[in-house]
């Protein structure tokens, strides 16, 4: 096979790896937003989760305990958000921003207190991390043209959590579109009064959505700290929570288009990494920073409302009050 083809496969594999936290966060945020609760706190939840995973992995050397801790930390933040927005009908954006600030501060303070490494957690041994897994036959089939390399480098050889992320997409699509819970979820984001008068609890429905969001953002955080990297470092989420939010908006709050947006952001990132230091004839060194900045620029444009809130759940951001 040609070198160019290999390059493409490897870039796509890198795309998946970079897009994984985005996908998990986007699917999580989708649950929350479809229920009518804006989630700008994805970033903070993911950061808390990454910190919890890094800490627990460093202390116990168990990757799965670390994942559990990450989920726990993230759902705790989600619960806080739910408490502020659902029970106390607070402003959802303010609550989300507060969660981001708390996470940014708390992870550094606790990290410094625990490990005294300037907010970092100790570097993890491979046993304490989730490592890429090789699917059966990956090596023996490599001789098969086209499909062989694709199977070995793209489909096999990824982290478990990458597979989890990929699985979360059809699962979200199915839950939101095809189940009773999904129907109610969509309804409560559009017209909570209709849900209430149908005899369904608006609060409980929204709490479940917010908790699901916590769960998925937790897995995303664990991926960052113990799969993609070998430990937690301060502010390691680097705005990916916001990019996931942009992906949701870009995908008009639907799982498959949002997934597509995550892949697009991932691809931009992967290409930027690949082009690092490469000289192009006539252009000189490729301005990698520009490509790397693209997802963020796009995010700003999207979040600033350039593609509009068209397709947004109608009741998003509006606390539900019965006797008003």
């Amino acid at each position: 096979m040609s070198e160019g083809f290999d390059l493409i496969v490897l870039t796509l594999a890198a795309t998946l790896r970079v897009a994984t936290p985005l996908i998990l966060c986007a699917m999580g945020g989708l649950f929350s937003e479809r229920s009518g609760i804006i989630d700008v706190g994805l970033e903070g939840k993911m950061l808390m989760a990454a910190f919890a995973a890094g800490t627990v992995a460093a202390v116990t050397d168990s990757a799965w305990l670390a994942v559990a801790a990450a989920i726990l930390a993230s759902t705790a933040m989600a619960l806080l958000h739910g408490f502020a927005c659902i029970t106390w009908r607070g402003n959802q954006v303010v609550s989300g921003v507060a969660i981001n600030i708390i996470a940014a501060g708390l992870t550094v303070v606790l990290g410094t207190a625990f490990f005294a490494r300037g907010g970092q957690t100790p570097a993890l041994e491979p046993e304490a991390r989730l490592m890429p897994i090789t699917l059966p036959g990956a090596e023996s089939l490599v001789g098969v043209p086209v499909l062989g390399p694709i199977y070995r480098s793209l489909i096999s050889g990824q982290n478990v959590l990458v597979y989890v992320a990929l699985l979360s997409v059809p699962l979200t699509w199915w839950i939101v579109g095809k189940t009773r819970f999904g129907l109610r979820l969509r309804a409560v984001g559009e017209m909570p009064l209709a849900v209430d008068t149908a005899g369904i609890s608006v609060s409980w429905l929204r709490y479940r959505a917010v908790l699901l969001c916590g769960l998925l953002a937790g897995i995303a955080g664990a991926y960052l700290a113990i799969a993609q990297n070998a430990g937690f470092s301060r502010d390691m989420t680097a705005g990916q929570g916001f990019i996931a939010l942009a992906a949701i908006i870009f995908g008009k709050w639907r799982p498959l288009p949002a997934f597509g947006a995550c892949l697009m952001f991932g691809l931009l990132d992967a290409v930027a990494i690949r082009l690092q230091g490469v000289r192009m004839p006539g252009l000189g060194e490729v301005p990698v920073q520009l490509i790397q900045a693209l997802p963020y620029l796009l995010t700003i444009l999207l979040l600033a409302g350039f593609i509009g809130r068209a397709g947004a759940p109608r009741a998003i951001g509006v606390p539900y009050e019965k006797e008003h």
């Binding site: 819970f181 559009e190 209709a194």
Partner: protein, 532 residues
């Protein structure tokens, strides 16, 4: 059946009446019994010691002034609010309603005045919401589709199960609401002002549906301000006033005059009296007004209209035929895409646009159709609502600061003059009942003694006493030389108020005639554009 002469006065009413011949079951425990229901919101006592009982298989009406507590009572029965005291009995058994789920389980269903439908969902999805029949939708939806077909044939309620609810007409949406209730197996149906938003044709259809439901043994509780509906459809009527039930009548033994008097506590004139006055100058003139929306749909098409001092012009038409847009343009909210408008000498066209503030300075006041969204700010205090649009004027603003005391005093005066209840300027605007909100907005605009007054749906959801009052105010304004334009879907209202009637259809004016020559039939035909 006893006294029918009010029904007989009107041929179509007699036909309707015949539909409701079926007798309610007697002897059995009442379907619903309420005992001593009390409910307060803060200092407002919405229900006090309300007791009533509803026979199985009957249609029972509840009438009362705005704010009498009808909706509150029904919300309590449906579990939306919890009563402060009192008992609810369903089929003779005391039950506690902790939420709508309890009411639904007891076979009680409610069609709210503002529909509880999820607009982007299909009819089928709306139908199953809350009664999906399993964690995965597929089976439940299939079963619901079959059940919908059965209900459609049994009750004559046909709707396309796959239509998106947001695309349906108001009448069809209401049918979906009724189907939702029947789908849950309800035996008691509560309807809160179901005809307030319907066209006359849709209303007729609704009452045919109610007749069928009654035939099938469904008990119906009907709240309405339209006494002719009460007379035509119900077996029994309860009259509420200031939170209490003040009378119970068998429909056959009463008449609209008596009910009106019981509701208001004084004699009410059901017909409007007005003297002829000479019309004056043309104050507003529209020439060839066009409006095309962003998708290229023509909403208004060459509308010509003249308003003279001292006349009331009524615009009749089925809602959605351009009346809303016309009002928006005349009041300066929206810009026409073609044509010219003259308001007391000021010429407005595409290159000389205007805005509502300028219109106000020209003496044009506007009471919008959608009072809740355009006439007021729901969370504002009544005092603030009472100066909206005029808030920069003295004495409300002094040296750039709002004068709270002056505003409150002003609102108090308006409330007294227009009988807004409760007369508390500090109350949130959204806490007033619909009719009282309307009176507040009307009071604000009429207090400016406008030269031109545009009124959209002046009495939508408003009680009989208030209708009489509002109509008299409009006539008084006209007598004082104001040019009044009334847009209403109520033919009765158009007929009794107007000096001149204009009919709109498909964004165009399809007919104009002096009120003296108009009657319900000719107008109805013109509204359907069937006369050509």
């Amino acid at each position: 059946m006893g006294n029918r002469h009010h029904a007989a006065a009107h041929p179509s009413r007699r036909a309707l009446r015949a539909l409701f011949r079926v007798r309610p079951e007697s002897g059995a425990a009442p379907a619903i019994e309420l005992r001593g229901i009390d409910k307060s919101f803060g200092t407002v006592r919405a229900n006090r010691g309300v007791s009533l009982s509803v026979a199985k298989g009957s249609i029972t009406g509840i009438v009362g002034e705005n704010g009498a507590g009808k909706s509150t009572l029904m919300s309590i029965l449906y579990g939306l609010y919890e009563a402060d005291a009192g008992e609810i009995l369903v089929d003779g058994q005391a039950v506690r309603m902790r939420g709508p789920a309890d009411a639904i389980a007891r076979g009680i269903g409610m069609v709210h005045q503002h529909f509880m439908l999820v607009a982007p969902f299909t009819v089928l999805e709306n139908l199953v919401l809350g009664a999906e029949g399993g964690a995965v939708l597929r089976r439940g939806l299939a079963a619901a589709r079959a059940e919908l077909a059965r209900l459609a044939s049994e009750y004559g309620l046909s709707v396309d199960p796959d239509a998106v609810v947001g695309d349906l007409s108001v009448g069809e949406q209401q049918r979906v609401e009724i189907l939702k209730v029947l789908f849950r197996g309800a035996r008691v149906l509560i309807l809160d002002e179901p005809s307030a938003v319907l066209t006359p044709q849709e209303t007729d259809q609704l009452f045919r549906i109610l007749a069928t439901l009654k035939e099938r043994g469904v008990t119906v509780l009907l709240i309405t301000h339209k006494l002719r509906e009460i007379m035509a459809a119900t077996d029994t009527v309860f009259v509420m006033r200031q939170g209490e039930v003040v009378a119970e009548r068998r429909t056959a033994d009463t008449n609209p005059e008596e009910l009106a008097e019981l509701m208001v506590g004084r004699k009410v004139r059901l017909t409007l009296e007005k003297d002829a006055v000479a019309t004056g100058d043309v104050l507003l003139k529209a020439e060839k007004l066009d409006l095309t929306d962003s998708r290229g749909v023509k909403l208004l098409d060459g509308v010509d209209l003249e308003l003279r001092a001292g006349e009331i012009v009524g615009i009749a038409g089925v809602s959605g035929n351009g009346q809303t847009e016309l009002l928006q343009i005349l009041s300066g909210i929206r810009r026409p895409t073609g044509g010219r408008l003259q308001v007391r000498g000021r010429v407005i066209d595409t290159s000389h646009p205007t805005d509502p503030a300028e219109m106000r300075t020209l003496g044009l006041c506007h009471v919008p159709e959608d009072r809740q969204r355009q006439g007021m700010v729901a969370p504002f205090r009544a005092a603030e609502t009472s100066i909206l649009g005029y808030h920069k004027l003295k004495p409300f603003t002094r040296r750039g600061l709002l004068d709270h005391v002056a505003t409150t005093a002003h609102c108090g005066l308006l409330m007294e003059r227009f009988d807004v209840r409760p007369p508390i300027p500090a109350l949130r605007s959204s806490s007033f009942s619909g009719g009282n909100q309307q009176k507040l907005v009307l009071a604000r605009e009429m207090d400016r003694t406008p030269r031109i007054l545009l009124v959209g749906q002046p009495t939508r959801g408003v009680d009989i006493g208030a209708i009489e009052f509002i109509h008299r105010q409009l006539v008084a304004a006209r007598d004082a030389g104001c040019a009044v334009l009334v847009v209403s879907v109520e033919l009765d209202e158009i007929l009794s108020l107007s000096d001149r009637i204009v009919v709109m259809f498909g964004g165009r004016i399809v007919g104009e005639l002096p009120a003296a020559k108009a009657d319900e039939r000719t107008l109805g035909l013109m509204m359907a554009n069937a006369h050509a």
